[in-house]
Point group: C2
């Protein structure tokens, strides 16, 4: 059934795509964004910057604000309004990560103890709320109602996506389409909004605005697909996330959906029990990874990701070729190649 899908493993003679061009493109702007982030996470209540700083200075890639900056380069925006807005995007993202850690009962995040483990759930929930409010303060200071609409809507969609994911948890019958809807909401909506607002501050036309939205949305889907693949990839380098978290939490991600769909009756029985939480030992995880390998489900999840990355790259083909477009295209390829 999946025999005709060509494995995506990069050949050694091709240089691996990296985030390097994107990092260079946005380096100076990211300095400004980082200043805003550090400035606006402050509070007279010492626990707030301590907890927020644990995650914010904890080595995240800051990919979402980088999308705003790259988008601004792509459309030739000359101003600085997008620095505050990119910081707002990162605050929204950080708030959702803090709440996710509480929701999932995470123990690790980005290779360190998760904030909820160090500071407890109560403070983690509240500091998330604080950062979320700060994000809206930053947007209000900028004053664009269009940006406010895009990001407040994205925030509501993210929350809906997270609730939908929670509702799908431990439900073996979750379909691939349903899964794509969920990651479209919980992850891709913010990628789309982060890119789109660059076009808004630059007063681009609707077509350009839409193109940046499409780039971000497809990139976000690709990114989440690969994240979910890595959690079951026996070859993957550790990404600062405990491998097997999704398995133990009974999350229905694409590698599981594919392995279940392609599995024998016996394998399906195993998956049902595992997703219900009745098979969660290290040995069960090893068995799950073996089944996923047997059905090429990690490779095929990456193939799906490559499809969305390609759509992201094509979406920005309406803009003139140049450093920005090339960096954004390579970032999309990097999203797919991560973890090799």
């Amino acid at each position: 059934m999946s025999a005709d899908i060509i494995p995506l493993k990069r050949r050694d003679e091709e240089p691996a795509p990296t985030l390097e061009p994107m990092l260079q493109l946005t380096a100076s702007g990211m300095n400004s964004v980082n200043s805003v982030i550090l400035d606006r996470m402050q509070s007279e209540i010492p626990l707030i910057p301590a907890l927020a700083g644990h995650l914010i200075s904890g080595g995240g890639k800051r990919l979402r604000p980088m999308l705003t900056l790259a988008g601004a380069e792509l459309v030739g925006y000359q101003g600085t309004r997008h620095h505050k807005l990119a910081a707002a995007v990162e605050f929204i993202h950080t708030a959702t990560l803090l709440h996710d850690d509480v929701v999932d009962g995470s123990e690790m995040r980005r290779g360190k103890a998760a904030a909820n483990i160090i500071y407890g759930n109560p403070a983690t929930v509240l500091v998330g709320d604080f950062l979320f409010s700060r994000a809206f303060e930053l947007m209000t200071e900028d004053g664009s109602l269009k940006v406010l609409k895009i990001l407040s809507n994205a925030s509501a969609v993210i929350a809906e996506g997270e609730v939908a994911q929670l509702s799908a948890q431990r439900k073996i019958e979750t379909s691939e389409d349903r899964y794509l809807e969920i990651i479209g909401a919980k992850t891709a909506a913010l990628f789309a909004a982060a890119s789109r607002i660059a076009a808004v501050v630059a007063e681009c036309d609707d077509r350009q605005e839409r193109a940046l939205d499409d780039y971000g949305r497809n990139l976000g889907v690709a990114f989440q697909l690969v994240d979910d693949a890595i959690d079951y990839d026996s070859d993957a380098a550790q990404m600062g996330k405990d491998q097997g978290d999704d398995f133990r939490e009974g999350k229905m991600t694409l590698p599981v959906i594919l392995a279940y769909a392609r599995g024998s009756e016996e394998e399906r029985s195993f998956w049902k029990a595992a997703i219900m939480g009745h098979r969660s030992s290290d040995q069960d995880l090893a068995h799950a990874i073996a089944l996923i390998g047997r059905h090429n489900a990690v490779e095929d999840t990456r193939a799906r990701a490559r499809h969305f990355a390609q759509r992201a790259i094509d979406a920005i083909s309406i803009f003139p070729d140049g450093k920005a477009r090339q960096a954004m295209a390579e970032a999309a390829m990097f999203a797919v190649a991560r973890g090799y």
Copy 2:
């Protein structure tokens, strides 16, 4: 030390202040607000309206949106913009209640099982985030950047107040001034913002805007003081909240602060142990209530509340006398008299 403070118990010949005039003043507007609330808590994810509705239709007084409506009446505003904004205020409040229930591990809210008990902490956190995002969508639709600034700032201050309260928990040395700062942030900031935005949509001058802010802020402080008094009031009618929650959670509220300050060495030892969580049985709670009674700490907390309620009433004296002002004044007196 407290002998010269006159007890506040109302004399039977005086009619008790009620919320009735406020309810009548805002009845028709509240119908519109309730429609917006019901409409905007909907989502394709069924768990969202189910969980939100559990709290929203759970018999809250909707005091905060009522303040926006009463303020609009006070300043003679003729439009309807404030209906959406009042709904946004209620959504922010509901989001903080949902998160509070998770933070406190509450079992009861408004006389029913708390949302986190029925739906679990994860969904409760996420639906709070959803309502919070919806609040900002509503404000963005209205389009007033001034309102957005007031309410995004209030939201950040609320979160700071909640974190500050968490930091003060189980700390016997919390002072009355610190406590007033905390409730000023966690409760009164939203009361102030809810009142103030009525003046903003009506395009009042700064002095009137400030007067409505002061009314709301002082009313909020009075309201929270009485809430905290009721938790230790041996005479109080049950308010849909388990009496003794603050005690068991080691929250430093004014009745405890006063009883501790006025207590003997032996009493202070008891309070230290109790606030640390080493004395939390029903018998310990009965002893705490007895000590608080001995030092008039509930009555004196109500006396403090009366001071703030009076400031609220005086703050709106710059507006012409009439039905709206009288209803708002009686609401402030009602806030103090609650629970008798």
